[in-house]
């Protein structure tokens, strides 16, 4: 084997074969080809057989994450939490509205047939679906209302839940996620540089939460009462339908 080859790398062997052929070195090429075949066989034998992984449906995975953080969340946060805490393939919800629409169809064709639905969070003022947020039908209605302070309180609540979960599982599970929370919560990054203490993060988030919680709960409860009075069962979960656009596209 020529000295510049990394050990038994299939790609490296392929390159070496090409180089030998190009250089017209037949004996070397023959020897390298044999090595390449052996390396390929070894690789194929080492690879685990494509085992049957039970695929968890997207809605189920989203449900697990939302149940963990307990507040409406954007797909990006859902994906990050899933990556940090739940094993298995990564989770991406590229179009949350599509998922919600599928859930809405299922709900409308057979109401309450499923134990839970991934549904919308509703804007407190218009009761329309809040953009880009996912929620669970099993939550109390006020949790699914988004008032003016709710984006912040939900962010802080998610920080508390994630920090507590991380503390249970061990500190390095969600390092990146915790850092992201800590960077934007005052007093959360009090520890050493580059590390985040889950307990300190939870405490800082709770401290800010205390400032907003009461007013936010009031706004949300009021919106939930209005929603209950105005919307039917499907509307309560998936929001009032917005008025359709009759004009041409929107200038961006």
């Amino acid at each position: 084997m020529s000295p510049d080859l990394p050990p038994a790398g299939v790609e490296a062997l392929r390159t070496a074969v090409r180089r030998a052929v190009a250089a017209g070195d037949r004996t070397d090429a023959r020897r390298l080809r044999a090595e390449l075949r052996a390396a390929e066989r070894a690789r194929d034998a080492a690879a685990p057989p494509p085992e049957h992984v039970p695929r968890v449906p997207l809605r189920e995975r989203v449900h697990r994450v939302l149940a963990l953080i307990g507040v409406p969340a954007a797909p990006k946060l859902v994906g990050a939490v899933h990556h940090a805490f739940l094993d298995g393939p990564g989770l991406s919800v590229p179009r949350p509205a599509d998922l919600r629409r599928a859930e809405e169809r299922a709900f409308r064709s057979a109401p309450d047939a499923r134990p839970y639905y991934v549904c919308a969070a509703l804007t407190a003022d218009a009761l329309t679906p809040a953009r880009g947020l996912l929620a669970l039908s099993t939550w109390p209605p006020e949790t699914r209302m988004i008032g003016p302070r709710s984006a912040r309180t939900d962010f802080l609540t998610a920080a508390v839940r994630v920090a507590e979960h991380a503390a249970r599982l061990g500190p390095d599970r969600a390092e990146r996620l915790l850092r992201r929370f800590a960077a934007n919560i005052p007093g959360a990054a009090a520890g050493g540089v580059g590390t985040v203490d889950a307990a300190a993060l939870a405490e800082a988030a709770r401290a800010e939460l205390a400032v907003h919680a009461a007013a936010d709960a009031r706004d949300r409860a009021r919106a939930a009462r209005r929603a209950a009075a105005r919307l039917d069962a499907a509307g309560l979960l998936f929001g009032a339908r917005p008025a359709p656009d009759r004009t041409h596209g929107v200038a961006r």
Binding site: T123, R131, S150, R152, N184, P186, E208, P242, A243, A251
Partner: protein, 367 residues
């Protein structure tokens, strides 16, 4: 809508030959201020003609749009700053401006696709009215604003945030160009300031309509850009008063587009057929090399200006120096003394002759 503009609207509709009006956005409105002397652009924009389609029909389509990479980078940075109820932006505003911890109101005025622009504008009005009355509310994301452009309401869906601090609104514009050591590329900042000025103006009109003092919208905007070579956002205040002044003058001028229309043939239309070239040429343009970066018609106008030897091709500076001398040929004739200048151009002609003499001397008679 004023009486003055109401009766130009049918004329403008005719110019489009039945096509729906193109929407303005802050970019196109800001571009209006770039070349105020251009009647062609004024008329085409006022009528909402699809300039890109016109230029392509004439064989002068712009070969490239905005870079996909730049767009993707811009969107990613914006998403990062706005994630989780603008968590990063709040941190930034708390650090830089001492925003109180309790000021965390965030209203996303955009909704899922499918809602009409009128309904969204109404929602923006409702929430801003509440905020103006109670001084409650911090961040208003994606406000749907409206600005009357030559008698047509243009809806603006800015990717900006209206930010209320101490009862005053500021426009927060998120851009992905880097601010390195407190310095950013002046051209980028100027373009951002022009766009932001459009939003400030639209927001001021809205505040005035709601019965409040338009000065509650500050002329100081906040530009949020990545800091140095990181992805960390930084906020820089930018005073957009000069841009606002230019914009207001331009919009006033646009609504007087009737004066330009009066001089045009009554049956003029920009329908995409064989008469299009003549129709476009019927409206005078004022080409300058800078047009290429801001106007879809630029390549057509450049071709036209080169063909007739207009001085504008050599740049605005040259055109202004040669005030009154429209073509390169005329300028050369004056310089060589082969043409007799009219009285009002005597000074320019003398300068040109001096320049020609200096050039001859410098070249030692070689030219």
């Amino acid at each position: 809508m004023t009486e003055n503009t109401a009766d130009t609207a049918p004329d403008l509709d005719r110019l489009r030959a039945g096509a729906p009006p193109r929407n303005h956005d802050a970019r196109t409105i800001a571009a209006l201020t770039a070349n105020p002397g251009c009647a062609r652009r004024g008329v085409l924009d006022a009528a909402g003609v699809d300039k890109d389609a016109v230029a392509r029909h004439l064989g002068f389509g712009t070969p490239f749009g905005q870079s996909q990479f730049a767009l993707a980078r811009g969107n990613a940075f914006e998403a990062q700053v706005k994630a989780d109820g603008c968590a990063e932006l709040l941190t930034l505003l708390r650090d830089r401006l001492g925003l109180a911890v309790a000021e965390v109101f965030y209203d996303d005025l955009a909704v899922e696709d499918g809602e009409s622009r009128e309904a969204r504008h109404a929602r923006t009005r409702r929430l801003l009215a509440r905020a103006l009355d109670s001084a409650e509310g911090t961040l208003f994301d994606h406000p749907m604003l409206r600005l009357d452009i030559a008698g047509h309401p243009a809806y603006l869906e800015p990717d900006v945030i209206a930010f209320q601090l101490g009862g005053r609104f500021h426009v927060v514009e998120i851009k992905s160009f880097a601010v390195v050591d407190g310095q950013a590329e002046p051209e980028q900042v100027a373009a951002a300031a022009r766009q932001a000025a459009v939003y400030v103006l639209a927001l001021r009109r809205l505040v005035a309509e709601l019965g409040h003092d338009p000065a509650r919208v500050a002329h100081e905007i906040f530009l949020v850009c990545p800091e140095d070579f990181s992805n960390r956002p930084s906020a820089t205040p930018v005073d957009v008063r000069p841009q606002l002044a230019v914009l207001e003058r331009q919009l006033a001028r646009l609504t007087r587009v009737r004066d330009i229309l009066a001089d045009l043939p009554p049956d003029l239309s920009f329908a995409l057929d064989e008469g299009l070239g003549d129709a476009v040429r019927a409206v005078g343009a004022r080409y300058a090399p800078e047009c290429v970066s801001g106007c879809e018609m630029a390549y057509f106008c450049r071709d036209e200006a080169r063909a007739c030897g207009a001085t504008g091709v050599l740049g605005r500076g040259v055109r202004d120096d040669l005030g009154g001398v429209d073509t390169v040929g005329a300028a050369l004739a004056l310089a060589r003394g082969t043409a007799e200048p009219p009285a009002e151009l005597a000074e320019t002609a003398a300068l040109l002759r001096t320049a020609a003499r200096l050039r001859r001397e410098a070249l030692g008679g070689a030219a």
